[in-house]
């Protein structure tokens, strides 16, 4: 099985119609590569939440995904307002969502906690009025693959 893949996806802020496109695409990709269900679910959720964050808050962003036999690395980088208080953003239920975002059913304040919960390794850096950068690593190991069958 050739478990190597790399791609970058551009995202426009405010484009709620397309939220989830990248996630659905990557999930199919991993499925075809034979990755365990639980792993592809975690990747799909992390990518989806990242897409929603960029669409909700930033003017634009890029999600870079690289898949190797060991892990899936997701880099989500945006040009946007940045996060003023990262510690608060990491707290379940904390949200700065606008009415427009909430109307779509988002903005529950679970985005970043949920991404952290899906990650084996998670880093976040943010600069006010510049943007936010998330790095999410999800391990693919044979042990996990066995366990979740």
């Amino acid at each position: 099985m050739n478990l190597e893949y790399e791609n970058s996806f551009e995202i426009q802020g405010g484009n709620f119609q397309e939220a989830g496109d990248i996630s659905v695409f990557i999930k199919k990709k991993l499925q075809n590569l034979g990755v365990a269900r639980e792993i592809l679910r975690r990747v799909a959720i992390a990518v989806y939440e990242s897409e929603i964050n960029i669409i909700s808050y930033a003017s634009k962003g890029i999600i870079h995904i690289s898949i190797s036999p060991e892990s899936v690395v997701i880099d989500a980088e945006d040009e946007g307002p940045g996060i003023e208080n990262i510690e608060l953003a990491m707290r379940a239920g904390y949200s700065t969502a606008t009415d427009k975002i909430r109307e779509m059913g988002f903005g529950a304040g679970m985005g970043i906690p949920n991404i952290m919960n899906c990650s084996d390794k998670f880093t976040i850096t943010s600069e006010l009025n510049k943007g936010t950068h998330l790095t999410i690593i999800i391990n693919i190991s044979n042990n996990d693959a066995e366990k979740n069958r």
């Binding site: 989830g20 959720i45 989806y48 679970m110 919960n117």
Partner: protein, 119 residues
């Protein structure tokens, strides 16, 4: 379907399945955080995102509560992503309770205190 006096909007052919768990919410982020694969999703949301979210989580079927009928866009996506969609006139509480009485359990009973980092 009889329990909920529901009508099927999409995926009639796939309705003959066994389901043991469900999750009810009107916040997609909560659905993403807690819903489990193979569960029913009960919601009052009708936008296309609900279908994408369901697809990402391998949700068995979506039940729209409070008599909601999804817009064509949403129905098309449900059809495309192969996710059955039902609509019931019961409210969310009533729908959940009726399913519970028929043996459907919540996909998590309670959220763990250590699920999320609290700072």
């Amino acid at each position: 379907m009889d329990i909920l006096d529901a009508k099927c909007l999409v995926g009639r052919k796939r309705l003959n399945m066994e389901v043991g768990t469900a999750f009810s919410a009107d916040l997609l982020s909560d659905v993403l955080a807690f819903a489990k694969a193979g569960s029913l999703l009960l919601t009052g949301l009708t936008n296309p995102q609900i279908v994408r979210t369901a697809s990402i989580l391998d949700i068995a079927a979506i039940i729209l509560v409070r008599g909601k009928i999804a817009p064509d866009e949403t129905l098309r996506m449900a059809d495309e992503l192969d996710i059955p969609m039902l609509s019931t006139r019961y409210i969310l509480f009533e729908t959940s309770g009726r399913l519970f009485m028929h043996g459907i359990k919540g996909c998590v009973e309670k959220v763990g205190s250590d699920t999320y980092v609290t700072l």
